[in-house]
Protein backbone atom coordinates (compact mmCIF):
# COMPACT_ATOMS: atom_id res chain seq x y z
CA UNK A 1 0.00 0.00 0.00
CA UNK A 2 1.22 3.48 -0.88
CA UNK A 3 0.19 6.23 1.53
CA UNK A 4 0.60 9.94 0.87
CA UNK A 5 0.52 12.28 3.87
CA UNK A 6 0.02 15.94 2.98
CA UNK A 7 1.66 18.15 5.57
CA UNK A 8 2.41 21.80 6.10
CA UNK A 9 4.16 24.09 8.52
CA UNK A 10 2.23 26.66 10.60
CA UNK A 11 3.00 29.18 13.35
CA UNK A 12 2.53 27.33 16.68
CA UNK A 13 -0.62 27.82 18.76
CA UNK A 14 1.17 30.10 21.25
CA UNK A 15 1.79 32.61 18.45
CA UNK A 16 0.69 36.18 19.08
CA UNK A 17 -0.35 38.28 16.11
CA UNK A 18 1.24 41.71 16.35
CA UNK A 19 -1.22 43.93 14.58
CA UNK A 20 -2.12 47.33 16.01
CA UNK A 21 -4.18 48.51 13.04
CA UNK A 22 -5.49 47.08 9.76
CA UNK A 23 -2.59 46.16 7.46
CA UNK A 24 -2.06 44.52 4.10
CA UNK A 25 0.50 42.08 5.49
CA UNK A 26 1.12 40.21 8.73
CA UNK A 27 4.35 40.69 10.64
CA UNK A 28 5.61 37.10 10.78
CA UNK A 29 8.98 37.87 12.35
CA UNK A 30 8.31 36.36 15.77
CA UNK A 31 6.61 33.19 14.51
CA UNK A 32 7.83 29.76 15.62
CA UNK A 33 6.95 27.29 12.89
CA UNK A 34 5.87 23.74 13.64
CA UNK A 35 4.09 20.86 11.91
CA UNK A 36 0.38 21.74 11.64
CA UNK A 37 -1.06 19.90 14.70
CA UNK A 38 -3.81 18.19 12.65
CA UNK A 39 -1.21 16.96 10.14
CA UNK A 40 0.54 15.21 13.05
CA UNK A 41 -2.56 13.00 13.39
CA UNK A 42 -2.31 12.19 9.67
CA UNK A 43 1.38 11.24 9.97
CA UNK A 44 0.73 9.08 13.04
CA UNK A 45 -2.21 7.32 11.36
CA UNK A 46 -0.05 6.48 8.36
CA UNK A 47 2.68 5.09 10.61
CA UNK A 48 0.19 2.98 12.57
CA UNK A 49 -1.24 1.58 9.31
CA UNK A 50 2.29 0.68 8.23
CA UNK A 51 2.96 -1.00 11.57
CA UNK A 52 -0.14 -3.15 11.04
CA UNK A 53 0.62 -3.99 7.40
CA UNK A 54 4.35 -4.54 7.77
CA UNK A 55 6.95 -3.87 5.09
CA UNK A 56 4.46 -3.88 2.22
CA UNK A 57 3.59 -0.26 2.85
CA UNK A 58 5.36 2.97 1.94
CA UNK A 59 4.61 6.40 3.39
CA UNK A 60 5.46 9.56 1.47
CA UNK A 61 5.20 12.95 3.16
CA UNK A 62 4.27 15.65 0.64
CA UNK A 63 4.65 19.34 1.38
CA UNK A 64 4.85 22.73 -0.29
CA UNK A 65 7.29 25.29 1.03
CA UNK A 66 10.70 26.88 1.19
CA UNK A 67 13.76 25.60 3.04
CA UNK A 68 12.24 26.41 6.44
CA UNK A 69 9.91 23.41 6.11
CA UNK A 70 12.83 20.95 5.83
CA UNK A 71 13.39 20.69 9.59
CA UNK A 72 9.71 19.86 10.16
CA UNK A 73 9.79 17.23 7.40
CA UNK A 74 12.85 15.61 8.94
CA UNK A 75 11.89 15.74 12.61
CA UNK A 76 8.11 15.29 12.52
CA UNK A 77 7.64 13.13 9.41
CA UNK A 78 10.73 11.13 8.45
CA UNK A 79 11.94 10.61 12.04
CA UNK A 80 8.59 9.20 13.18
CA UNK A 81 8.16 6.71 10.35
CA UNK A 82 7.53 8.30 6.94
CA UNK A 83 9.76 6.62 4.36
CA UNK A 84 10.40 9.53 2.04
CA UNK A 85 9.41 13.10 1.32
CA UNK A 86 8.50 15.20 -1.69
CA UNK A 87 8.67 18.98 -1.42
CA UNK A 88 7.33 21.48 -3.95
CA UNK A 89 9.61 24.49 -3.75
CA UNK A 90 8.30 27.17 -6.09
CA UNK A 91 7.94 30.94 -5.67
CA UNK A 92 4.62 30.68 -7.50
CA UNK A 93 3.23 28.94 -4.39
CA UNK A 94 4.12 31.66 -1.86
CA UNK A 95 0.79 32.79 -0.38
CA UNK A 96 -1.11 30.21 -2.48
CA UNK A 97 -4.85 29.74 -1.80
CA UNK A 98 -6.44 26.35 -1.07
CA UNK A 99 -7.33 25.73 -4.72
CA UNK A 100 -3.71 26.22 -5.81
CA UNK A 101 -2.39 24.00 -3.00
CA UNK A 102 -4.89 21.25 -3.81
CA UNK A 103 -4.07 21.41 -7.54
CA UNK A 104 -0.34 21.00 -6.90
CA UNK A 105 -0.85 18.19 -4.38
CA UNK A 106 -3.17 16.46 -6.87
CA UNK A 107 -0.47 16.67 -9.56
CA UNK A 108 2.02 14.79 -7.37
CA UNK A 109 -0.53 12.23 -6.23
CA UNK A 110 -1.63 11.56 -9.82
CA UNK A 111 2.00 11.29 -10.95
CA UNK A 112 2.97 8.71 -8.33
CA UNK A 113 -0.34 6.95 -7.59
CA UNK A 114 -1.37 6.38 -3.98
CA UNK A 115 -3.92 4.09 -2.32
CA UNK A 116 -4.61 6.43 0.57
CA UNK A 117 -4.14 10.17 1.04
CA UNK A 118 -4.11 11.52 4.58
CA UNK A 119 -4.10 15.18 5.62
CA UNK A 120 -5.00 17.33 8.63
CA UNK A 121 -8.63 18.52 8.75
CA UNK A 122 -7.43 22.13 8.54
CA UNK A 123 -4.38 24.25 9.25
CA UNK A 124 -4.39 26.27 12.47
CA UNK A 125 -3.36 29.51 10.72
CA UNK A 126 -5.67 29.77 7.68
CA UNK A 127 -8.31 27.56 9.37
CA UNK A 128 -10.04 26.96 6.02
CA UNK A 129 -10.29 23.16 5.97
CA UNK A 130 -10.67 23.16 2.19
CA UNK A 131 -7.67 21.32 0.80
CA UNK A 132 -8.78 17.74 1.63
CA UNK A 133 -12.23 17.79 -0.06
CA UNK A 134 -10.84 19.85 -3.00
CA UNK A 135 -8.05 17.33 -3.47
CA UNK A 136 -10.58 14.47 -3.53
CA UNK A 137 -12.56 16.28 -6.25
CA UNK A 138 -9.43 16.86 -8.36
CA UNK A 139 -8.46 13.19 -7.89
CA UNK A 140 -12.04 12.05 -8.58
CA UNK A 141 -12.05 9.84 -5.50
CA UNK A 142 -14.12 9.54 -2.33
CA UNK A 143 -13.25 11.33 0.88
CA UNK A 144 -14.15 11.63 4.54
CA UNK A 145 -13.33 14.79 6.47
CA UNK A 146 -12.84 15.46 10.20
CA UNK A 147 -12.18 11.78 10.91
CA UNK A 148 -11.69 10.40 14.43
CA UNK A 149 -11.47 6.69 13.56
CA UNK A 150 -10.26 4.93 10.42
CA UNK A 151 -10.34 1.27 9.43
CA UNK A 152 -9.05 -0.23 6.17
CA UNK A 153 -9.95 -3.60 4.62
CA UNK A 154 -9.73 -5.08 1.12
CA UNK A 155 -9.44 -1.86 -0.82
CA UNK A 156 -12.11 -0.09 1.23
CA UNK A 157 -12.19 2.30 4.16
CA UNK A 158 -14.59 2.93 7.03
CA UNK A 159 -14.19 6.31 8.66
CA UNK A 160 -15.97 7.86 11.63
CA UNK A 161 -16.35 11.57 11.14
CA UNK A 162 -17.40 14.14 13.71
CA UNK A 163 -20.70 15.96 13.14
CA UNK A 164 -22.85 18.12 15.45
CA UNK A 165 -23.67 16.01 18.50
CA UNK A 166 -22.67 12.73 16.91
CA UNK A 167 -20.87 10.96 14.11
CA UNK A 168 -21.25 9.81 10.54
CA UNK A 169 -19.80 6.49 9.45
CA UNK A 170 -18.47 6.94 5.93
CA UNK A 171 -17.52 3.92 3.83
CA UNK A 172 -15.97 3.84 0.41
CA UNK A 173 -13.41 2.53 -1.99
CA UNK A 174 -9.70 3.29 -1.99
CA UNK A 175 -8.02 5.41 -3.17
CA UNK A 176 -9.59 8.03 -0.94
CA UNK A 177 -8.71 11.22 0.89
CA UNK A 178 -9.10 11.28 4.68
CA UNK A 179 -8.72 14.46 6.75
CA UNK A 180 -7.73 13.86 10.34
CA UNK A 181 -9.21 15.29 13.55
CA UNK A 182 -7.91 15.24 17.11
CA UNK A 183 -8.93 11.97 18.78
CA UNK A 184 -7.86 9.79 15.84
CA UNK A 185 -4.62 8.82 17.59
CA UNK A 186 -1.85 10.10 19.86
CA UNK A 187 1.07 11.30 17.74
CA UNK A 188 4.42 9.92 18.91
CA UNK A 189 7.51 12.04 19.45
CA UNK A 190 10.65 11.43 17.41
CA UNK A 191 13.63 9.86 19.19
CA UNK A 192 17.05 11.45 18.85
CA UNK A 193 18.59 8.48 16.98
CA UNK A 194 15.65 8.50 14.55
CA UNK A 195 16.09 12.23 13.91
CA UNK A 196 19.75 11.51 13.07
CA UNK A 197 18.78 8.67 10.73
CA UNK A 198 15.95 10.67 9.11
CA UNK A 199 18.48 12.76 7.21
CA UNK A 200 19.41 9.63 5.23
CA UNK A 201 15.87 9.02 3.91
CA UNK A 202 15.14 10.02 0.29
CA UNK A 203 13.84 13.54 -0.28
CA UNK A 204 12.78 14.92 -3.63
CA UNK A 205 12.41 18.62 -4.37
CA UNK A 206 10.35 19.65 -7.39
CA UNK A 207 8.98 22.80 -8.99
CA UNK A 208 5.53 23.20 -10.51
CA UNK A 209 7.18 23.05 -13.95
CA UNK A 210 8.79 19.71 -13.02
CA UNK A 211 5.28 18.43 -12.28
CA UNK A 212 4.11 19.70 -15.64
CA UNK A 213 1.46 21.98 -14.19
CA UNK A 214 0.74 25.61 -14.77
CA UNK A 215 -0.75 26.83 -11.49
CA UNK A 216 -3.90 28.87 -12.20
CA UNK A 217 -4.23 32.36 -10.65
CA UNK A 218 -5.56 32.42 -7.07
CA UNK A 219 -9.34 32.43 -6.66
CA UNK A 220 -9.08 34.51 -3.51
CA UNK A 221 -6.76 37.29 -2.32
CA UNK A 222 -6.42 38.59 1.23
CA UNK A 223 -6.50 42.38 0.99
CA UNK A 224 -6.47 43.39 4.67
CA UNK A 225 -5.64 41.90 8.06
CA UNK A 226 -7.56 43.46 10.96
CA UNK A 227 -7.01 42.95 14.70
CA UNK A 228 -10.05 41.96 16.82
CA UNK A 229 -11.90 44.86 18.44
CA UNK A 230 -10.38 45.68 21.84
CA UNK A 231 -12.39 44.69 24.92
CA UNK A 232 -13.24 46.94 27.83
CA UNK A 233 -11.52 46.16 31.14
CA UNK A 234 -12.91 43.28 33.17
CA UNK A 235 -15.34 44.20 35.94
CA UNK A 236 -14.40 42.15 38.98
CA UNK A 237 -17.38 41.37 41.19
CA UNK A 238 -15.94 41.77 44.68
CA UNK A 239 -17.47 40.33 47.81
CA UNK A 240 -15.98 38.55 50.82
CA UNK A 241 -18.73 35.96 50.50
CA UNK A 242 -18.35 33.94 47.25
CA UNK A 243 -22.05 33.08 47.26
CA UNK A 244 -22.99 36.76 47.40
CA UNK A 245 -20.55 37.51 44.58
CA UNK A 246 -22.13 34.71 42.52
CA UNK A 247 -25.58 36.17 43.12
CA UNK A 248 -24.43 39.64 42.08
CA UNK A 249 -22.81 38.18 38.93
CA UNK A 250 -26.07 36.48 37.95
CA UNK A 251 -27.91 39.79 38.40
CA UNK A 252 -25.35 41.69 36.29
CA UNK A 253 -25.56 39.17 33.46
CA UNK A 254 -29.31 39.51 33.37
CA UNK A 255 -29.83 43.23 34.02
CA UNK A 256 -26.65 44.86 32.68
CA UNK A 257 -25.17 42.55 30.02
CA UNK A 258 -28.63 41.17 29.16
CA UNK A 259 -27.21 37.81 28.10
CA UNK A 260 -29.34 35.48 30.27
Amino acid sequence: MKIAVCVTQVPDSETRINLAAPASELDQSGFTRVLNPYDAFAVEEAVQIKERLGADCEITAITIGGDKVLETIKKDCLAVGCDKAIRVNDDAMIGADSMQVAKVLAAIIKRDGYDLVLAGKQTIDGDSGQVGPMLAEYLDCGHASVVTKLELADGTFTATREIEGGAEIVTGALPAVITCQKGLNEPRLPSLPNIMKAGMKPQETVSCADLGIDVPPAHTTVTTYTPPAPRAACRIVENEDPAAAAKELARLLRDEAKVI
Binding site: S13, M99, A102, G129, P133, H143, R161, K182, P228, A246
Partner: protein, 320 residues
Protein backbone atom coordinates in the same frame (compact mmCIF):
# COMPACT_ATOMS: atom_id res chain seq x y z
CA UNK B 1 -26.96 43.29 -9.17
CA UNK B 2 -25.77 40.13 -7.43
CA UNK B 3 -28.02 37.12 -7.13
CA UNK B 4 -27.27 35.25 -3.92
CA UNK B 5 -28.11 31.57 -3.50
CA UNK B 6 -28.34 30.14 0.01
CA UNK B 7 -28.00 26.41 0.67
CA UNK B 8 -30.77 25.45 3.10
CA UNK B 9 -29.18 22.58 5.04
CA UNK B 10 -31.55 19.97 6.39
CA UNK B 11 -31.21 16.58 8.02
CA UNK B 12 -34.34 14.45 8.41
CA UNK B 13 -36.39 17.48 7.43
CA UNK B 14 -34.97 19.73 10.17
CA UNK B 15 -33.48 22.93 8.76
CA UNK B 16 -30.36 24.45 10.34
CA UNK B 17 -30.99 27.90 11.78
CA UNK B 18 -27.89 29.26 10.01
CA UNK B 19 -29.79 28.91 6.70
CA UNK B 20 -32.35 31.51 7.80
CA UNK B 21 -29.57 33.76 9.14
CA UNK B 22 -27.81 33.61 5.75
CA UNK B 23 -31.04 34.37 3.88
CA UNK B 24 -31.66 37.38 6.12
CA UNK B 25 -28.12 38.68 5.50
CA UNK B 26 -28.35 38.04 1.76
CA UNK B 27 -31.62 39.99 1.69
CA UNK B 28 -29.95 43.06 3.24
CA UNK B 29 -27.25 42.92 0.54
CA UNK B 30 -29.66 42.68 -2.39
CA UNK B 31 -31.93 45.37 -0.89
CA UNK B 32 -29.01 47.76 -1.39
CA UNK B 33 -27.37 46.30 -4.50
CA UNK B 34 -30.29 44.80 -6.38
CA UNK B 35 -30.59 41.14 -7.31
CA UNK B 36 -32.46 38.27 -5.71
CA UNK B 37 -32.07 35.75 -2.89
CA UNK B 38 -32.62 32.13 -3.80
CA UNK B 39 -32.96 29.31 -1.29
CA UNK B 40 -31.68 25.94 -2.49
CA UNK B 41 -32.76 22.81 -0.66
CA UNK B 42 -31.79 19.21 -1.33
CA UNK B 43 -34.12 16.53 -0.04
CA UNK B 44 -37.46 16.57 1.71
CA UNK B 45 -38.02 19.45 4.09
CA UNK B 46 -40.67 22.06 4.71
CA UNK B 47 -38.99 25.35 3.83
CA UNK B 48 -42.15 27.43 3.80
CA UNK B 49 -40.64 30.06 6.10
CA UNK B 50 -37.80 30.87 3.64
CA UNK B 51 -39.86 33.68 2.14
CA UNK B 52 -40.52 35.28 5.51
CA UNK B 53 -36.77 35.40 6.16
CA UNK B 54 -36.12 37.13 2.85
CA UNK B 55 -35.87 34.58 0.02
CA UNK B 56 -37.44 35.59 -3.30
CA UNK B 57 -37.56 32.03 -4.60
CA UNK B 58 -36.78 28.52 -3.40
CA UNK B 59 -35.39 25.77 -5.61
CA UNK B 60 -35.83 22.22 -4.33
CA UNK B 61 -34.56 18.90 -5.62
CA UNK B 62 -35.84 15.61 -4.22
CA UNK B 63 -35.12 11.97 -4.90
CA UNK B 64 -33.55 8.84 -3.46
CA UNK B 65 -30.02 10.22 -3.87
CA UNK B 66 -30.96 13.15 -1.64
CA UNK B 67 -32.44 11.39 1.38
CA UNK B 68 -29.05 10.96 3.09
CA UNK B 69 -26.16 13.42 2.88
CA UNK B 70 -23.48 12.37 0.42
CA UNK B 71 -20.73 14.84 -0.44
CA UNK B 72 -20.09 13.67 -3.99
CA UNK B 73 -23.78 13.53 -4.92
CA UNK B 74 -24.80 16.71 -3.11
CA UNK B 75 -21.91 18.72 -4.56
CA UNK B 76 -22.99 17.54 -8.02
CA UNK B 77 -26.59 18.57 -7.31
CA UNK B 78 -25.51 22.07 -6.23
CA UNK B 79 -23.19 22.28 -9.25
CA UNK B 80 -26.18 21.47 -11.48
CA UNK B 81 -28.11 24.29 -9.82
CA UNK B 82 -25.23 26.79 -10.17
CA UNK B 83 -24.72 25.95 -13.84
CA UNK B 84 -28.43 26.46 -14.55
CA UNK B 85 -28.90 29.71 -12.61
CA UNK B 86 -25.42 31.30 -12.37
CA UNK B 87 -25.67 32.90 -8.90
CA UNK B 88 -22.88 35.35 -7.98
CA UNK B 89 -22.57 33.95 -4.48
CA UNK B 90 -23.58 30.65 -2.89
CA UNK B 91 -23.74 30.73 0.91
CA UNK B 92 -23.38 27.46 2.82
CA UNK B 93 -23.44 27.17 6.63
CA UNK B 94 -20.08 26.43 8.25
CA UNK B 95 -21.48 23.29 9.80
CA UNK B 96 -20.13 19.73 9.69
CA UNK B 97 -22.02 19.22 6.43
CA UNK B 98 -21.27 22.63 4.95
CA UNK B 99 -17.54 22.47 5.66
CA UNK B 100 -17.42 19.08 3.94
CA UNK B 101 -19.55 20.13 0.99
CA UNK B 102 -18.41 23.68 0.11
CA UNK B 103 -14.78 22.95 -0.90
CA UNK B 104 -15.67 19.90 -2.97
CA UNK B 105 -18.39 21.86 -4.75
CA UNK B 106 -16.09 24.85 -5.32
CA UNK B 107 -13.41 22.58 -6.81
CA UNK B 108 -16.01 20.97 -9.07
CA UNK B 109 -17.26 24.26 -10.55
CA UNK B 110 -13.92 26.11 -10.34
CA UNK B 111 -15.38 28.73 -7.98
CA UNK B 112 -13.60 30.59 -5.19
CA UNK B 113 -14.12 29.07 -1.74
CA UNK B 114 -14.04 31.04 1.50
CA UNK B 115 -14.64 29.40 4.90
CA UNK B 116 -16.09 30.72 8.16
CA UNK B 117 -17.37 34.04 6.89
CA UNK B 118 -18.47 36.57 9.53
CA UNK B 119 -18.95 39.58 7.24
CA UNK B 120 -19.89 40.18 3.59
CA UNK B 121 -19.39 43.40 1.62
CA UNK B 122 -20.61 43.95 -1.93
CA UNK B 123 -19.12 46.64 -4.12
CA UNK B 124 -18.86 45.46 -7.70
CA UNK B 125 -17.54 42.15 -6.31
CA UNK B 126 -17.58 40.42 -2.94
CA UNK B 127 -15.18 40.87 -0.04
CA UNK B 128 -15.56 38.37 2.75
CA UNK B 129 -14.35 38.91 6.32
CA UNK B 130 -13.28 35.80 8.21
CA UNK B 131 -11.30 35.00 11.36
CA UNK B 132 -7.89 33.37 10.93
CA UNK B 133 -5.57 31.93 13.60
CA UNK B 134 -8.81 30.91 15.39
CA UNK B 135 -9.79 34.57 15.81
CA UNK B 136 -6.47 36.15 16.78
CA UNK B 137 -6.93 38.22 13.62
CA UNK B 138 -9.44 38.82 10.80
CA UNK B 139 -8.74 38.64 7.07
CA UNK B 140 -10.68 40.46 4.34
CA UNK B 141 -10.74 38.11 1.35
CA UNK B 142 -11.40 39.43 -2.13
CA UNK B 143 -13.15 37.03 -4.49
CA UNK B 144 -11.51 36.84 -7.93
CA UNK B 145 -14.06 34.59 -9.64
CA UNK B 146 -17.58 35.10 -11.04
CA UNK B 147 -19.03 32.77 -8.40
CA UNK B 148 -17.85 32.19 -4.83
CA UNK B 149 -18.92 29.41 -2.48
CA UNK B 150 -18.79 30.94 1.00
CA UNK B 151 -19.14 29.10 4.31
CA UNK B 152 -20.93 31.21 6.91
CA UNK B 153 -20.35 30.78 10.61
CA UNK B 154 -23.55 30.04 12.60
CA UNK B 155 -24.76 33.10 14.58
CA UNK B 156 -22.47 35.48 12.64
CA UNK B 157 -25.62 37.08 11.23
CA UNK B 158 -28.90 37.64 13.00
CA UNK B 159 -32.39 37.04 11.74
CA UNK B 160 -34.02 40.22 10.55
CA UNK B 161 -37.57 41.36 11.19
CA UNK B 162 -39.64 38.72 9.50
CA UNK B 163 -40.77 40.38 6.28
CA UNK B 164 -43.81 38.14 6.11
CA UNK B 165 -43.03 37.53 2.44
CA UNK B 166 -43.55 34.26 0.70
CA UNK B 167 -41.32 32.50 -1.80
CA UNK B 168 -42.46 30.34 -4.67
CA UNK B 169 -40.87 26.88 -4.58
CA UNK B 170 -39.68 25.57 -7.92
CA UNK B 171 -38.40 22.01 -8.21
CA UNK B 172 -35.27 21.14 -10.14
CA UNK B 173 -33.59 17.95 -11.30
CA UNK B 174 -30.36 17.35 -9.38
CA UNK B 175 -29.00 15.31 -12.29
CA UNK B 176 -28.06 12.34 -10.12
CA UNK B 177 -29.85 9.57 -11.98
CA UNK B 178 -27.53 6.58 -12.20
CA UNK B 179 -24.80 8.33 -10.22
CA UNK B 180 -22.81 6.03 -7.92
CA UNK B 181 -20.63 7.81 -5.33
CA UNK B 182 -17.23 6.40 -4.40
CA UNK B 183 -17.89 6.99 -0.71
CA UNK B 184 -21.14 7.24 1.22
CA UNK B 185 -22.55 7.73 4.70
CA UNK B 186 -23.43 4.23 5.87
CA UNK B 187 -24.77 5.24 9.25
CA UNK B 188 -25.33 8.24 11.47
CA UNK B 189 -24.87 8.04 15.22
CA UNK B 190 -26.52 10.75 17.26
CA UNK B 191 -25.57 11.14 20.92
CA UNK B 192 -28.56 10.68 23.21
CA UNK B 193 -30.36 13.51 24.95
CA UNK B 194 -30.55 17.10 23.90
CA UNK B 195 -26.88 17.95 23.94
CA UNK B 196 -26.25 21.41 22.55
CA UNK B 197 -23.51 21.71 19.93
CA UNK B 198 -20.67 24.03 20.98
CA UNK B 199 -20.41 25.87 17.67
CA UNK B 200 -24.15 26.60 17.63
CA UNK B 201 -24.68 27.34 21.33
CA UNK B 202 -25.80 30.77 22.54
CA UNK B 203 -24.31 30.11 25.97
CA UNK B 204 -21.22 28.02 26.78
CA UNK B 205 -19.82 26.99 30.16
CA UNK B 206 -16.23 25.74 29.98
CA UNK B 207 -14.00 24.16 32.59
CA UNK B 208 -10.25 23.88 32.93
CA UNK B 209 -7.53 22.48 35.11
CA UNK B 210 -8.83 24.43 38.12
CA UNK B 211 -11.47 21.69 38.44
CA UNK B 212 -8.65 19.52 39.89
CA UNK B 213 -10.10 16.17 38.78
CA UNK B 214 -12.30 14.63 36.08
CA UNK B 215 -15.26 13.98 38.37
CA UNK B 216 -15.59 17.70 39.09
CA UNK B 217 -16.47 18.39 35.43
CA UNK B 218 -19.99 17.62 36.65
CA UNK B 219 -20.02 21.14 38.12
CA UNK B 220 -19.63 22.46 34.56
CA UNK B 221 -22.30 20.16 33.16
CA UNK B 222 -24.76 21.04 35.93
CA UNK B 223 -24.29 24.78 35.44
CA UNK B 224 -24.56 24.31 31.67
CA UNK B 225 -27.85 22.49 32.13
CA UNK B 226 -29.25 25.26 34.32
CA UNK B 227 -28.23 27.88 31.75
CA UNK B 228 -29.40 25.82 28.76
CA UNK B 229 -25.78 25.95 27.64
CA UNK B 230 -23.25 23.71 25.92
CA UNK B 231 -20.34 22.40 28.02
CA UNK B 232 -16.82 23.16 26.80
CA UNK B 233 -13.31 22.48 28.03
CA UNK B 234 -9.74 23.72 27.88
CA UNK B 235 -7.09 21.75 26.02
CA UNK B 236 -5.44 20.81 29.32
CA UNK B 237 -8.35 18.71 30.56
CA UNK B 238 -9.03 17.23 27.13
CA UNK B 239 -5.41 16.11 26.86
CA UNK B 240 -5.68 14.73 30.41
CA UNK B 241 -8.55 12.56 29.19
CA UNK B 242 -11.20 14.06 31.49
CA UNK B 243 -13.56 14.99 28.64
CA UNK B 244 -13.86 14.09 24.94
CA UNK B 245 -11.97 16.22 22.39
CA UNK B 246 -15.29 17.25 20.84
CA UNK B 247 -15.70 19.53 23.89
CA UNK B 248 -12.42 21.39 23.38
CA UNK B 249 -12.55 25.14 22.78
CA UNK B 250 -9.45 26.80 21.34
CA UNK B 251 -7.11 26.94 18.40
CA UNK B 252 -6.81 23.17 18.17
CA UNK B 253 -10.45 22.66 19.14
CA UNK B 254 -13.60 24.56 18.31
CA UNK B 255 -13.78 28.28 17.67
CA UNK B 256 -16.94 29.62 19.27
CA UNK B 257 -18.71 32.96 19.53
CA UNK B 258 -21.72 32.58 21.84
CA UNK B 259 -23.64 35.39 23.51
CA UNK B 260 -22.25 34.32 26.88
CA UNK B 261 -19.05 32.35 27.58
CA UNK B 262 -18.34 31.33 31.18
CA UNK B 263 -14.73 30.20 31.77
CA UNK B 264 -14.32 28.33 35.04
CA UNK B 265 -10.91 27.34 36.38
CA UNK B 266 -9.35 28.25 33.03
CA UNK B 267 -6.18 30.34 33.21
CA UNK B 268 -6.52 31.56 29.62
CA UNK B 269 -3.67 30.22 27.47
CA UNK B 270 -3.43 32.20 24.24
CA UNK B 271 -4.62 29.24 22.17
CA UNK B 272 -7.76 29.00 24.35
CA UNK B 273 -8.42 32.75 24.21
CA UNK B 274 -8.15 32.60 20.41
CA UNK B 275 -11.03 30.14 20.26
CA UNK B 276 -13.52 32.12 22.37
CA UNK B 277 -12.53 35.78 22.36
CA UNK B 278 -15.20 36.74 19.82
CA UNK B 279 -17.91 35.79 22.37
CA UNK B 280 -20.21 38.72 23.11
CA UNK B 281 -19.87 38.52 26.89
CA UNK B 282 -17.12 36.62 28.72
CA UNK B 283 -17.22 35.68 32.40
CA UNK B 284 -14.18 34.33 34.25
CA UNK B 285 -14.21 32.52 37.58
CA UNK B 286 -10.69 31.81 38.81
CA UNK B 287 -8.85 32.08 42.11
CA UNK B 288 -5.71 33.56 40.53
CA UNK B 289 -6.23 37.32 40.04
CA UNK B 290 -3.31 37.38 37.58
CA UNK B 291 -4.75 34.71 35.26
CA UNK B 292 -4.72 35.98 31.65
CA UNK B 293 -8.40 35.02 31.30
CA UNK B 294 -9.34 38.19 33.23
CA UNK B 295 -7.79 40.31 30.45
CA UNK B 296 -10.24 38.77 27.97
CA UNK B 297 -13.25 38.80 30.31
CA UNK B 298 -16.04 41.34 30.80
CA UNK B 299 -16.99 40.10 34.28
CA UNK B 300 -14.93 38.16 36.77
CA UNK B 301 -14.97 36.66 40.22
CA UNK B 302 -11.63 36.03 41.91
CA UNK B 303 -12.36 33.13 44.26
CA UNK B 304 -12.25 29.36 44.60
CA UNK B 305 -14.51 27.94 41.89
CA UNK B 306 -15.78 25.26 44.28
CA UNK B 307 -17.28 28.02 46.46
CA UNK B 308 -18.62 30.12 43.59
CA UNK B 309 -19.99 27.74 40.97
CA UNK B 310 -22.70 25.95 43.01
CA UNK B 311 -23.86 29.33 44.38
CA UNK B 312 -23.83 30.81 40.87
CA UNK B 313 -25.96 27.95 39.64
CA UNK B 314 -28.45 28.47 42.47
CA UNK B 315 -28.50 32.20 41.74
CA UNK B 316 -29.25 31.58 38.04
CA UNK B 317 -31.99 29.11 38.90
CA UNK B 318 -33.50 31.68 41.32
CA UNK B 319 -33.67 34.48 38.73
CA UNK B 320 -37.21 35.42 37.87
Amino acid sequence: MPNIAVFIEQRDGTVKKVAWQMIAKARTIVEAAGGEVWGVVLGDADVGEAGAHGAHKVFQAKGDALTTYNCEGWSRALATFCEAHSPDLLLVGSTAMGKDLAPRLAARIDAACVSDCVGIEWSDGFTIRRPIFAGKCYADVKVNTALAVVGVRPNAFTLGESGGGSAVTESFDAGLEGFVPKAKVAERQQAGGKKIELTEAEVIVSGGRGLKEAANYKLIEDLAETLGAAAGASRAIVDAGWVPHANQVGQTGKTVSPKLYVAIGISGAIQHLAGMSSSKCIVAINKDPNAPIFKAADYGIVADLFDVVPAFRDAIAALD
